[in-house]
Symmetry: C2
Subunit: 317 residues, 2 copies
């Protein structure tokens, strides 16, 4: 009999094919597990696959008395209460680095699309306004990448890939993270200092309780009227209301957002703005990134059912 | 009395400010010069500023018997009949390299926006389809940059900057140009061989009579169903009808286009397609790129009126 794995979040069926070949999947489709499966079925669950951002606290874990492994699909695990998991001897795994290039690339895509105003540009051509020589204030020349000051917040695998890419674009790169590394970029000891210096803030920090709303009205104001913020980490890092206000009153010039506070919802006040480029959390959403994340998740699940430590485990808090 | 310069193409007034400080400008606004100025006025013209892509043949030159300098704003000079200019002792200048980073960056922007489907992504969020969990076939995972084979057609300053950027994105880079250079990218002896190998063709070749429609139905077919073409050079390099057909019948996956055969017009059959990202020839359209192009054009004009050779001259054919 195949080992059983609970699919705790909503994942497209196509992403589950390789798991279904190896395991018997109990797929919640993203609904509360109790609504989909009986208490008896849930009581037998030893391992689950989840999206790292999905809330999973002590109470939720207690629905699964035999749970031994929470395997996050992707690099994030901010939804998982690590202390509660450790207290219950539940191993937590993720897919470190597997999607780093893909996420760094969506950060670059959003930055370039926003600063070069590609949505406006595309519409200017499609609408016939260009052919009609119609004036478009949004199409005025903007600062380009050479010499632009890019601030990277967070210097993990994704932050490093963003920094390397920006350097090739002939931009100046600075960063803030808890630790200073031996890297060819200027280090800033605080997010405030980085934001005063840079005109584009790239948020690549690992999200958690301590990063909740750290990018607030003050930080946005420091970016200034020619400033941009790009977020590919988690929506929780930005105070979304402050962001809407800063974008609406031109405190900053624009934003590129792949993540939101309450996904899959983006507030109407935000989506009505012309100076933002949106993506529906597709940072890690490339073919090779999915294969790499699946490799990590499968390795974690196989190891767990073989009674071994998770090869891609999260260190407990 | 200030030296007179004819503004032969349509340029925004804001781009002409520095020229107006130094010269008396006769601005055609892009209309035929004879419609705007008298034969006597045109007869006195010794220098003109033009967009390099604007047609300027022997007959047009003969309207200006005293013409001694054709100064192109930007790197291109494909509209200028160099033989006719040489025969009339007219010096031709341009702004080499001044906009290379800016143009390379719009190439990267268009490639990333197209391959990561950022227009669809943005609309998916704005429309509420994401919040409504609506299926979107266009949002299926696509191949990302790592390992992707990028073919750069043309290895001038812009091509080199595109290649360097793509390499940082962990892509494989190959190129075709008339000459093989000492560069860390695979050289292909023909455009056909490059197109067979790559999945994204970046057109960065200097346009002219010999590159007219070289990217045709055959080349597009070689890119294949997962192939993309990005053009930031000149519209003339692509057979636009063949491109529309290849995009419509999915011979290739998509395109990113900053240039068109008959600017500022883009055919309706092209602009109706969802798998293309358009820009209205804004490759060189950044603040620092304009300053650099103006520096070159002003240096050319100042040298000409001082009786010196153009510092940024085009070698005659």
């Amino acid at each position: 009999m195949a080992d059983k794995v609970l699919i705790y979040s909503r994942f497209p069926k196509t992403m589950m094919v390789r798991f279904a070949e190896r395991f018997e999947l109990l797929d919640t489709g993203g609904k509360p597990a109790r609504e989909v499966f009986s208490a008896e079925e849930l009581g037998g669950i030893r391992a689950m696959l989840t999206a790292g951002g999905s809330p999973l606290d002590a109470e939720a874990m207690d629905l699964f008395p035999k749970l031994g492994a929470i395997v996050c699909y992707g690099t994030g695990y901010d939804g998982v209460d690590l202390k509660a998991a450790a207290a219950r001897n539940i191993a937590v795994g993720h897919s470190p680095g597997a999607n780093a290039a893909s996420v760094a690339d969506i950060a670059m895509t959003l930055m370039l699309a926003t600063t070069r105003r590609i949505l406006v540009a595309d519409q200017y051509v499609r609408s016939g306004d260009w052919a009609g020589s119609k004036q478009s204030p949004m199409m005025r020349p903007q600062a380009g990448m050479p010499g632009r000051r890019i601030g990277v917040y967070g210097m993990g695998e994704i932050g490093r890939k963003i920094a390397a890419r920006c350097a090739t674009f002939e931009s100046e790169v600075g960063y803030f993270s808890r630790s200073k590394y031996d890297l060819p970029y200027q280090y800033f000891p605080t997010l405030e200092a980085l934001s005063d210096w840079c005109s584009v803030l790239m948020i690549a920090v690992r999200a958690g309780a301590e990063t909740q709303h750290v990018v607030d009205a003050d930080i946005l104001k420091r970016l200034g009227a020619d400033g941009y913020v790009v977020n590919i980490s988690r929506g929780s890092v930005i105070d979304e209301k402050a962001l809407v206000a800063a974008l609406a009153d031109k405190t900053i010039a624009g934003a590129g957002l792949d993540v939101f506070e309450t996904e899959p919802h983006a507030p109407d006040a935000l989506t009505a703005l012309p100076n933002v480029v949106f993506a529906p959390h597709i940072g890690g959403h490339t073919l090779e990134s999915h294969v790499a994340m699946q490799n990590c998740a499968l390795a974690n699940l196989n190891a767990f059912f073989a009674g071994k430590p998770l090869p891609y485990g999260v260190k407990s808090a």
